[in-house]
């Protein structure tokens, strides 16, 4: 959009509404049979279309429509019969706009009506059409950015929910518009016909190897065209942020599905120590203190846990085309890589996204340096999936986690709790709602 106009007192067309207007705070009514608008122009030679968001005054059975005829000088440039709110597009003849800074438009609206004559209003103004906003569209298309002609690089990213986020990131990069288009395939459920069609057309396919069903991944490989470039990647998980573990049946006997409310359980990441205090009928502050003592006493060798995680990340790197384990090892203390044992944080997703767009064949369609800057901008303030587990102060201190602070609040779907609030809710097995 080359120019944006907003009608009304708060808008930017105050001096342009020459005559035939009744201006309100956020809009302007065209009144009488004719209005004059001195529309600002950019002054270049390119083609322009005026888009107006308008709302006709309609009285069913009395005045079912409003006509609007626009002209510039003697030349009629648009004619509409309006029955509901919506945008109208008026191509402006180039010979009337070329090199000019404004154009005088005459708007005729012969069906203006006084509300007091048509309904129970006391408004005596002769109203026709309410003008809300407008804009000038150039020749680059409605979104304002140039569409690149040529070969569209279409591909697939297949895996779980985090891969859906990666697809969203790539598709929303401004430089990818018209150049790269990625579809998501969920490998946690069987392929449908749409996914098979996407697979058949894909020039590349990235498959998350550590999520989903092996049979579905095999079916997907079978559905791809022979010349499709296939690569694997894994999204690391972490168990070093003790005491929360991934799904481990039996760790907490309360963790059972509650149909219609919680699946697989009210709290899906079991905490063995917290579960041990479930039956304590003591005040919250006493239980919290007991929990803290128990955590300190039972603290495992955290370095060994992290070493096991790093060993697993290295193994994943060896098995997959895209390696992320080195990054995870190096950044573990400085950036929040994990929101929960199985949930990657934004920093990890951002790095994976950057490495994906810097890989063939996307790298042939996008400048990876530009894409990296765009990824940083797109992900500013991004929090990732709304499933965060607290990090215990002793664990944060042990690893010297730079991003951690004692007053952090952790998101769990619709709720935000401090670490202590989360632990007390876990011990009490408190209900929560999404």
């Amino acid at each position: 959009m080359e120019a944006a106009f907003v009608f009304g007192h708060v808008g930017n067309l105050g001096g342009a509404l020459i005559s035939g207007w009744s201006v309100e705070e956020g809009y302007a009514w065209a009144v009488g049979k004719e209005s004059l608008l001195s529309l600002p122009l950019p002054g270049h030679d390119g083609g322009l279309t005026l888009r107006l968001a308008v709302h006709p005054l309609i009285y069913p059975g009395v005045r079912p429509f409003q006509r609007l005829i626009l002209s510039a000088g003697d030349e009629e440039i648009g004619s509409f019969t309006l029955t509901k709110r919506g945008p109208i597009d008026v191509p402006l003849p180039p010979h009337l706009t070329r090199g000019r800074r404004d154009i005088l438009l005459t708007l005729r609206h012969p069906d203006a009506i006084r509300p007091c004559d048509a309904g129970d209003s006391r408004d005596t103004r002769e109203l026709a059409i309410c003008f809300h906003s407008g804009g000038l569209l150039g020749s680059t298309g409605p979104g304002g950015a140039a569409i690149v002609s040529g070969d569209l690089c279409t591909g697939i990213m297949a895996g779980g929910a985090d891969v859906a986020s990666l697809v969203d990131i790539v598709n929303k990069l401004p430089s990818a518009r018209g150049r790269v288009e990625v579809s998501f395939i969920d490998t946690r459920r069987p392929l449908d016909s749409g996914s098979r069609e996407d697979a058949r057309r894909a020039r590349f396919c990235w498959i998350q190897s550590n999520m989903g069903l092996g049979g579905v991944r095999d079916s997907l490989r079978g559905a791809l065209a022979p010349d499709c470039l296939v690569r694997d990647f894994a999204i690391p998980t972490a168990r070093a942020l003790w005491p929360f573990l991934g799904p481990m049946p039996g760790t907490d006997t309360r963790a059972i599905p509650e149909p219609g409310r919680y699946a697989p359980a009210r709290y899906r990441y079991p905490d063995r120590i917290a579960a041990g205090f479930a039956a304590y009928n003591l005040t919250d502050d006493v239980v919290a203190l007991l929990y803290e003592n128990a955590v300190r006493e039972q603290m495992p060798d955290l370095d060994a846990l992290l070493a096991a995680d790093i060993a697993e990340w290295r193994m994943l790197d060896q098995r997959n085309t895209l390696g992320i384990g080195g990054f995870a090892s190096n950044q573990f203390t400085s950036e929040r890589l994990f929101l929960a044992p199985m949930v990657p944080g934004p920093a990890l997703l951002r790095e994976i996204a950057k490495r994906l767009v810097a890989s063939p064949p996307i790298v042939e369609a996008l400048d990876p340096a530009v894409a990296a800057v765009e990824i940083d901008a797109l992900m500013e303030g991004f929090g990732g999936r709304r499933e965060e587990l607290p990090v215990h102060p002793s664990v944060a201190a042990h690893f010297n986690l730079a991003w951690w602070s004692a007053d952090l609040r952790y998101r769990w779907h619709g709720s935000r709790r401090t670490g202590t609030e989360y632990i007390m809710d876990y011990i009490r097995w408190a209900p929560w709602r999404p």
Binding site: V10, R51, A53, G381, F382, R433
Partner: protein
């Protein structure tokens, strides 16, 4: 057959339903259904909300609206079983949180990206300014063009009282008493957990087949469910500092982050993204 409570309301009804469905004391007592009054179609009444859907409805929590009865509201009333209890409640809304109920020409082709239009930001959309200068310009223009917010608040109050007048549950006094001290609204029509807590307790205590003891148990569970809940925070428009000042909003924190889908942004980050119509992640 379990008796159902049918909620006929905008998205605030979904909040009521979701909270109510997590009340364990009502398990087996009642189920909660919701018809989205702002999305329901003519076809829905024939296909989804016919006699089978309505058969177990014992109570309707009906969100009122001022003006003439809409065709969908009439369809609801036609389809209800006889002798159903109807409890009417008002919607929560606030138009005084300027400037996010204006106009933006970009919405004509992209209505969902930033659905709370800001007229001032819209007119800056085609300016070529660096971030700091752009935000300064925004603050400057908004300060110049800020309308009489007290007048807007009086309009809001008048609207709240108008819908109270046709409802069984009154909210205007509660909103007026609380909206300066606590954040109640994220947008003109999206609410924090506070209004849901207030309304759900009121509705349950008036529902005929829920006795006082059960309503009291439900109130305790609601307290637990909502004490850390953020409400409808998936789209939060930021609070302009001048709006906070002029309306004396005590909860305003200039460093606060506002959730926008998958992000949390400052006022400045939100405004710059809005002006540039920047994409974001869910």
């Amino acid at each position: 057959m379990t008796r159902s409570v049918l909620i006929f309301a905008n998205c605030q009804g979904e909040e009521l339903r979701t909270t109510a469905r997590y009340l364990t004391c009502l398990t087996g007592v009642t189920d909660f259904k919701w018809i989205a009054s702002h999305k329901v179609t003519d076809a829905d009444w024939a296909m989804r909300y016919g006699p089978d859907f309505m058969a177990d409805v014992a109570v309707v929590w009906e969100q009122v609206e001022s003006g003439q009865e809409s065709a969908h509201r009439a369809a609801l009333h036609r389809g209800l079983p006889k002798d159903v209890q109807i409890i009417r409640f008002p919607p929560f809304s606030a138009l005084c949180l300027w400037p996010f109920s204006g106009n933006d020409p970009r919405q004509a082709t992209d209505p969902t990206r930033y659905p709370w239009p800001d007229s001032i930001a819209a007119v800056l959309a085609t300016e070529d300014l660096p971030d700091n200068a752009m935000f300064e310009r925004y603050l400057e223009i908004t300060a110049q063009r800020m309308p009489d917010l007290e007048r807007r608040l009086r309009f809001d109050l008048a609207r709240w009282r108008a819908t109270d007048a046709i409802a069984d549950i009154k909210v205007a006094d509660w909103v007026e008493r609380n909206f300066r001290a606590k954040r109640l609204f994220y947008t003109a029509g999206h609410v924090t957990a506070e209004p849901t807590r207030f309304l759900l307790n009121q509705l349950l205590s008036r529902t005929a087949f829920i006795d006082g003891a059960l309503a009291a148990r439900a109130a305790l569970e609601i307290e637990v469910l909502l004490r850390y809940h953020a409400g409808q925070d998936f789209e939060c428009v930021p609070l302009h500092p001048l709006v906070a000042e002029r309306l004396a909003l005590q909860f305003h924190d200039p460093n606060r982050l506002y959730r926008w889908h998958g992000h949390e942004w400052t006022l400045r980050q939100y405004i710059l993204r809005y002006i540039r119509w920047a994409p974001y992640l869910d």
